[in-house]
Symmetry: C2
Subunit: 319 residues, 2 copies
Amino acid sequence: MKSLVFTEYKAPLSYQDSIEPIAKEGQKVIKMQAAAFNRRDFWITLGLYPGIVPNCILGSDGVGEVDGKQYIINPNVEWGDGDLPNKNYSILGMPVNGTFAEYIAVDADRLVEKPAHLTTEQAAALPLGGLTAYHAVFGKCQLKAGEKILITGVGGGVSQMATQLAIAAGAEVYVSSSSEAKILKAMEWGAKGGVNYTKEDWAKRLGKDTGGFDVIIDSAGGEGFKDLVRIAKTGGRIGIYGGTRGAIPQINPAHIFLKHLTIYGCTMGSDKEFLKMVEFVSQHKIIPLVDEVYDLENGNKGLQKMAKGEQFGKVILSI
Amino acid sequence: MKSLVFTEYKAPLSYQDSIEPIAKEGQKVIKMQAAAFNRRDFWITLGLYPGIVPNCILGSDGVGEVDGKQYIINPNVEWGDGDLPNKNYSILGMPVNGTFAEYIAVDADRLVEKPAHLTTEQAAALPLGGLTAYHAVFGKCQLKAGEKILITGVGGGVSQMATQLAIAAGAEVYVSSSSEAKILKAMEWGAKGGVNYTKEDWAKRLGKDTGGFDVIIDSAGGEGFKDLVRIAKTGGRIGIYGGTRGAIPQINPAHIFLKHLTIYGCTMGSDKEFLKMVEFVSQHKIIPLVDEVYDLENGNKGLQKMAKGEQFGKVILSI
């Protein structure tokens, strides 16, 4: 079967023939129809991810068919029953072969019926981003209707899902981005407002205009994290699931404890949350944003687009 | 009546006559018997505390008598009914007159009967430290029996209370200190171990020896906070209620989110937690550590001792 395989660092993925998987006990072999890139795939190609092995079919997100039905695949491998992952936990697509292939063998309990309101490509955009966003917004930060939430860097796939989930939950949603177009898109969805974080004093002004935030979802870290602490309300919850801007410099503990803030480190989410997320998406008819669809053979073009940060929405592979 | 009054920065407290308070509706006038210093009092004398007003009787902790019974005083002023303090919340002893006086008028619902197993002086050592510790250890970090907890800087009053509470809850307790004597005291109480944080690589070795911590309670911040993040287990909870070592430099967000860590900013606790704390202390016969007892007139000697960091246990005023 055709597949996109990680073979070496800082090189294109290899479009090559792989051996068709065989179902072990409790597994199903899925005929893949669409998959999606995540930032994780990009980090892996740079060698910036823990536990990398060579000659692995990448891909955490995917939709496929088996027994005449379409399913989305839960990308958790061995999460277990609890709120925290088991020790041998990994994410589909490294080191376990992933979704960028014509066939994949997964445990049958990884399969969730594709929500009817989504196209195959839209559904492929959902799993990892939807799970991470759901876990951060609801599982950890416990967002409630009417609360004010700020979601930073709305260009990212998880941020977009977080924005859509929070709007559907009845929160007052604000976003930040360096792109006015992305802010406008979020406002089309129903965000109350957005700010360009390249402008000076954006956080100070936003804090003043809104009265501060109950919940903040961030994947940047870096120098700007200080501002987020500053514009969180008393009792505010900050969920951080990434660090694209690097280390957080100089946080004064008093700014955290005098305001009773909680900072949640978030990554992925439990199997239970995956089911809840898909249910929530179905109930509220949320449609993940798709940037562009490539054939599996041209997958490296999608990866290049991500490397330049040019995508807005998920980069999809049609298989 | 005699009282210890804050009049100016970086000067001794003024031992002076103040007007005896009169009970407003819903209040009781308490004849004070003992009070205790907190680090807060020391910060106030340096001007390093928010909302300072001059000519205020200091003191958040105290035990006194009314209607023939002994009570400890809940130092929360206007916390309210929720998990977070009301907007007009303050702590007894600034800007509202505190416990360093012969009499105090407080709302009747601030009074909780003195636990029978404590002397007057021991009971005076309990309120603020006990509440902060209880809130951090149980209210926020949800410590459970059998879990591993590290409490840093066991020289401090809150740390000592946290250590005693955690031991009573059946946790495996480790402490850190720059003083071997303080570590030994904690081990007398039932701590499993302790490390001298002035020694190189203490955190790395402790992490290795223990397998990491489910809960960490810290009031230092500073450079060492990075080590705490490092030796927290996956899913670990870190409660921070102070920043004696200043700003936290350079935290890598990945160290927080890849391990699903939660960082709780903690300060004081709710009225409900105050009641639970006193009940827990009574049930487990916990005895706060008293360093030394001074007459109200000689209170500045206690303050000087705190300024030098020489105390081990609470500095008490007998009134």
